[in-house]
């Protein structure tokens, strides 16, 4: 098992280094392409939510990404300092195909085994993503 803690400030430019680092970790642990892409997509959606809707792009607020990689499961906790809004995030969905936003939560759910939204007493939101590794199994999605 390997656990990594990554912390980023809430600016648009943080997304790329976060994904670069995550991709490198998944490669380092020989995670297959399919699992890596699914996990990166789920984490990127949670990260974007934290950046835009939780921390509202305030650079003084941090986004913490905890990554846990083991032989069977990939886990990530993406934690914002947004002080509330879990219900709003969970309910978000595009009002029509022509909406520019609102697809993130659906994509997160599609490409992971389980997603949980937990708000602490301060209102900070943790999005917990869990993906059972498929590796050499037949991909059915």
């Amino acid at each position: 098992m390997a656990v990594y803690e990554l912390i980023y400030s809430s600016v648009l430019e943080s997304e790329e280094p976060m994904l670069d680092r995550l991709q490198a970790l998944l490669y380092e642990h020989s995670v297959c392409d399919r699992d890596a892409r699914d996990f990166m997509l789920a984490v990127s959606e949670a990260f974007t939510n934290a950046l835009l809707h939780g921390n509202r792009c305030q650079p003084n607020k941090e986004i913490k990404v905890l990554i846990d990689i083991n032989q069977k499961v990939l886990c990530a906790d993406v934690i914002d300092q947004g002080r509330g809004g879990a219900d709003k995030v969970k309910k978000k969905c595009p009002s029509s195909l022509l909406s520019e936003g609102g697809r993130g939560v659906d994509l997160m759910r599609y490409c992971s085994t389980d997603v949980k939204f937990v708000e602490d007493e301060k209102g900070d939101l943790t999005v917990s993503i869990r993906l059972e590794r498929q590796d050499d199994r037949q991909f059915n999605k």
Binding site: E13, L19, S44, E45, G104, L107
Partner: protein, 116 residues
């Protein structure tokens, strides 16, 4: 993400390479906006080198498509990698974009059909 520009038979072609996400999606919107300012209303995006797309990247493409329609222009996409195609499928965006298997087919669709 890297972006490069070409033009063929009046169609502006943008080659995308890398991840299409929040920051690169914003950059892409700016790039296409500059094409509109040059009166280029036929836009083709070649996604063959796009290895990753998320909802922010999809949102950018939807925004570009809406702006193109508003300007009475046309937007086409081609060469989606299987994973990117899957993301379009599950979000049902295949229903609103003109997506072609290859750039050649996309560009052919811009040519007027000969009639007798």
């Amino acid at each position: 993400m890297e972006m490069s520009m070409r033009e063929r038979d009046g169609v502006a072609i943008v080659d995308l390479n890398g991840r299409l996400d929040l920051s690169s999606g914003t950059a892409l919107k700016e790039r296409v906006k500059s094409l509109f300012e040059q009166e280029k209303m036929s836009i083709h995006l070649n996604l063959s080198q796009v290895e990753f797309i998320n909802s922010s990247g999809l949102g950018s493409l939807v925004s570009i498509m809406k702006e193109t329609r508003l300007r009475k222009g046309r937007l086409t996409l081609s060469d989606l990698a299987s994973y990117v195609q899957e993301i379009f499928d599950i979000t049902q965006l295949t229903n609103i974009f003109e997506i072609f298997p290859t750039e050649k087919e996309a560009l052919s669709s811009y040519q007027p059909v000969a009639t007798n």
